[in-house]
Every structure is written in structure tokens, then in C-alpha cells.
């Protein structure tokens, strides 16, 4: 991402959303356990955990999309592209971003129809909770909006880099992650922890 205020704000927003969703997942897990116990022991069931759980997945996914985008995690097959000369590679990396943005834009235009119909017809879930559908769908739609904004922003930036002829920078920012980057983003802190333990052990062995 380019170094500017908007990038920082976007990263900050997405990160905050991710943390909120994370705590919500923990809370929902606890609630689920409580429900299981009361159901087994007291034959009393808290209604609607499964329904809320369904909404939770839709919301977590929608919010996760932008985080994964920013951390360059969305899966691509880089087998052929990786073998191309760097200028051609830049074109394909840019193309991937632009098509992703186009997809996201189309998806939000259709997702908006879903949400606006729920509002217009005041639809409710056919469940004991009778949740008004616009509530979970608004949060879900918000996640998609953030994703689409991030996609368009990054696609625009990659196009700009392509037009300016900054192929190296484009490949670095929008190409598939290098091996080191991938290890770092999927196991970074865990490896750090293990290395510290190894270092401690070595220090212990020497003394």
C-alpha cells in the first residue's frame, strides 16, 4: 500500500474490526458452551445461538476479506506468472487487482439489493428470534463496503504504478507473497517464540 494517511486509516480500521470480531468469536464460543450445559443438565435451551452463529460467519468473512487483502493473503496460483519477465509480471499483478476490484464492486451492488429489499419489505428471519434481517445484513454489507473500498484503492494504486512504469514496486506490493513473507505472515510470532526458547536452551546448556 502507498505510504499515506488513507492507507494508515484503512489499516487501522480493518485491524480494529478484526479484533472486535475475534472477541465476539470467543464470546460466542462461551455462550455456546453455556447453552450446551443448560441444554444437557437443565433441559433448558437458550434459543437462537445457531442463528446468531450463522450471522457471525457472514460478518466475520466479510470483515476478514479486507484484512486478508491488506496482508496479501488471497490465494493466487503464481506458478506461471512467477516465471515471466518482471514487466509482464507487473501487468498480470495489476490485472489481478483490477479484476478483484471489479468483482468486489459488482458484489456490493448486488449485496445492496439484498439489504435494501430486507429494509423495504421489513423481512424477518423465520426463527424463534424473528431477527429483522436488516440488522445482520447491514453489518455484513458494511464489511463488503470496506473490502470494495480497499480493493478499488489498491487496484488504483497498482494501475498508477503500471502507468508510471514502476514495475518493480508494483510486483513488490501486489505480486504474490515471497516465501519469507508468507512464512512471516502465517507463522511469524510463533516462530519468534520457538527461537527464543531455543536460544534459552542453548544459553542453559552453555552455563
Amino acid at each position: 500500500m502507498p505510504e499515506n494517511l488513507f492507507s494508515r486509516a484503512l489499516t487501522r480500521l480493518v485491524d480494529t474490526l478484526v479484533i472486535i470480531v475475534g472477541w465476539w468469536l470467543v464470546a460466542l464460543s462461551l455462550l455456546t458452551c453455556v447453552e450446551m450445559v443448560t441444554r444437557k443438565v437443565f433441559s433448558f435451551s437458550l434459543q437462537g445461538i445457531d442463528e446468531v452463529g450463522g450471522y457471525t460467519l457472514a460478518v466475520s468473512a466479510a470483515i476478514g476479506y479486507s484484512y486478508t487483502l491488506i496482508t496479501r493473503g488471497h490465494t493466487r496460483i503464481d506458478f506461471m506468472v512467477g516465471k515471466l519477465p518482471f514487466k509482464a509480471r507487473a501487468v498480470f499483478n495489476c490485472l489481478a487487482m483490477v479484476t478483484l476490484a471489479a468483482m468486489a464492486l459488482f458484489c456490493i451492488s448486488r449485496a445492496w439489493v439484498v439489504l435494501s429489499e430486507s429494509i423495504e419489505f421489513q423481512s424477518r428471519a423465520t426463527t424463534p428470534l424473528q431477527t429483522p434481517m436488516w440488522i445482520p445484513q447491514s453489518i455484513w454489507f458494511f464489511g463488503w463496503i470496506v473490502f470494495a473500498v480497499a480493493c478499488v484503492y489498491l487496484a488504483g494504486h497498482s494501475l498508477l504504478l503500471l502507468v508510471k512504469g514502476k514495475h518493480e514496486a508494483l510486483n513488490k506490493a501486489y505480486g504474490p507473497q515471497t516465501l519469507e513473507e508468507e512464512i512471516e505472515s502465517e507463522a511469524g510470532e510463533v516462530l519468534e517464540q520457538v527461537r527464543q526458547q531455543n536460544a534459552l536452551k542453548e544459553a542453559g546448556a552453555q552455563s
Partner: protein, 434 residues
Amino acid sequence: MIGPIEIGIGFLIMMGLMFLGLHVATTMFVTAIIGSALYLGMPAVNAVGNELWAANEDYVLLSIPLYILLGEILVRSGTTDKMYKSLADWLNFLPGGLLHTNIGASALFSAVSGSSVATAATISTVALPTFKTRKYDQRMVLGSIAAGASLGNLIPPGIAFLIYGAMTNTSAGRLYAAGIVPGALMTLLFMGTIIGMALYRPKLMGTKEAPAPLREKLGRLRHLLAPLVIFGVVMGCIYTGWATVTESAALGVVVALPIAWLYGQLSVRMMHEAFRATLRLTAMSLLILTMAFYLNFVLGLLGVTQSLAGVVQSLHVSAVQLLWVLAVFYLLLGIFFETLPMLVGTVPLVFPLTVAAGIDPVFFGVFMVLMCEISLISPPVGMTLYVIQGVRGEGTIKEVFQGTIPFFLTMIVMTAILIHFPEIALWLPRISFG
């Protein structure tokens, strides 16, 4: 209904777009849109919105982030190297010594972790220093780590089974039950491979260390408890029917928290890291899965299932023949593809074929996951191999490739066993779910 040739063209377009390096999710979306625009018209194109909501508002799929979160918490509880040491205590007596620990530790770790990259990186970082002074053949060391790391999805609770189950409407509980025996058998076959190599080529093996005193061994045994307790609780609840797959995942998360606390690792910062990793992996899978659902929806309207069923019937292939053809197809595809794109990209087309040939959906799930495992360690694209080499930081990737060869062959043997004795997968789900 569209004919097999159009279906083939559609599949090639999708594969072509993937090779151009577009995001896998985009390629499925584009293929689905082309299909519906050409044959179905705007209503099918406009159905995207409803499909997006319907595909993601799913309680069963909530188990995906929950299992990933459970794994991320456990991985961060700092038990890996203690677990490794304790496993070594009990496996060292076998011919091939410490190599068995690589298999065992990777299998345990990958069973709880949703990321094969994280598994390979962590186990390599823990294991490689212990091998430094012991003169094992490097290739065997690397190969055994790669083989172990590929076991994760077959041993429940893996994410691949959940994704397959969601795409084919197959019960995740049954799939988990079906994975256990083949997963255990695969582990034993890997260990058998090491024993075989040790007896046939003793020079490849390094120096063994004297066994630790029993008291020490027993003391360390508690470090194996964490993964075993989680596994027992999660799977136990599913098999006894006490909890659904999602509920037991939630239970797993709740049990993992005190474990991380016991190891002194539970902190807000650690939880936040776990959340980030969880959402990243979840969204990675779900964007592709969501688009695959839409593609599936379009394929359903296009009558692809019936069309492909017609092809299978006209060819008069038996289930076993079809499975062998698919095995070869996936071996080739696995050279270029990673697990998730391979699974999600092919199941919408391949599943109707297998149903038409009378193959049990639960069995095919196990077969499919085994194919994914093979793709993980087949060079030159197997991601785990590069990760292991990256952590190792010396020698060449060629040594890793050579090291995986015996294990790769073992997986082919396993494929043959599975195809010809489908009962090893189907037996447990039948007795536990009827």
C-alpha cells in the same frame, strides 16, 4: 442443459484464468458469470447478492473460524518443543529414531493448526536444531517433516473436510469419522517407511541417544496432554452426538484458553495475534468458497450434474476405474496447485461424476483430502517443501525434494489401499452414526 464440451471449455477457461495469476476467487466468479450470462440471462447474474448472503450465513461453516482460532491459540501456547521432546521419549526406540518424532509431532501439530505453512515452519524450527549433532541423512529429516505436515487435514478436525462437506452437502461429522482410520493408517505407513529405510539403509540414520529415565519421561508426558485433551473433547462430543461440529469447535476454543494460561502464554496481545491469523485464514478460504457456491449454483441451473452423469453412464466406467483416473488427474494437478484451489476448483465438476458412478460421498471426501495431502508434498510447487527449505537456510531445495520421494510413494500406496478397500474410511462413520 449444456453439453460436456461446453462444460470442458468452461473448466479450461477457469484453469486458464488461474494460471494467469488472477485471484482464485475471481476466476470462479468470472466463470460463473460467463456461464449464467451466456445460457441463463440476467436473473442468474443478479442472483449473486442472495447467494453471497445465503452462502455465508451458515452455522455449520462457523466451525471453520472456530477450529482455526482453536489451533491458533494452541500453537501460541508455546507447547510445541515440549511436545516434540515428549514424543521423542516414546518413539526413539524404533529403527529410524528421531525421524518418527518428526512424523508424530507434525501430525499432532497440523491436526490442530489450520495452516500447513505454519506447521511446516514451526516443526522445522523446533526439529532441525535437534538433528544438527546427530548425523542423520538430511534428506530423510526434511522428507519426514514434510510428510508429517501433510497429514493434518486427514486427521480431524481439519478444515478441508468442512469445506468439502459444505460444497457437497455431506455431514462434517461423518467425514471426520471417516478420516480417522485412514489418517492413522497413513501415519503408520509413514513410520513403516522410515523403519524400512532404517533397516535397508542403516547409513542414512544418525546416532541414537540413550533413553531418558522413566521418571523424566513420565514427567514430560503431560506436554502431550494439551493436544490430546482438545482432540478428545472435540471429537468425543461429535462422535457421541452430544454436540454438533460447530458446538464442539466452540468447546475446543473454550478448553484451549486455560491450556494457554497454564503455559503462561495467555495475554491480550497473544489473543489479538490469534484473531488476526484466524480471520486471515478464514477469509482466505471463505472468499474462494463463497464464489465456489455461486459457481455451484450456476452449474446446477445449467444442468451440469445431469450432463456429466450422462457421460459417466455412457462410458460404462466402474467406480474403481474412475477413482484411478481421478487419482492421476489430481496427481498432475497437484504439481501446480495448492490444497484449497484444487479442492474448491474441481469438486463442483468432479463430485457429480463420482455420484453418477455410485461412489459414496463420504468416501470421496476422504479420497479428495488424501489427494490434497499429496499435492502438498509433490514438487515443484508443494508449498511446505519451500517453507522447510526456507527455515533450514542451508543446502538446496533438491535435498528436500529427494527426501519426500519415499513418502510420496507411500502416499500412492495409501491411495491404492483406499481405492480398493473403501471400508477403511466407511466403517467408522457407519458404526458411529448408523
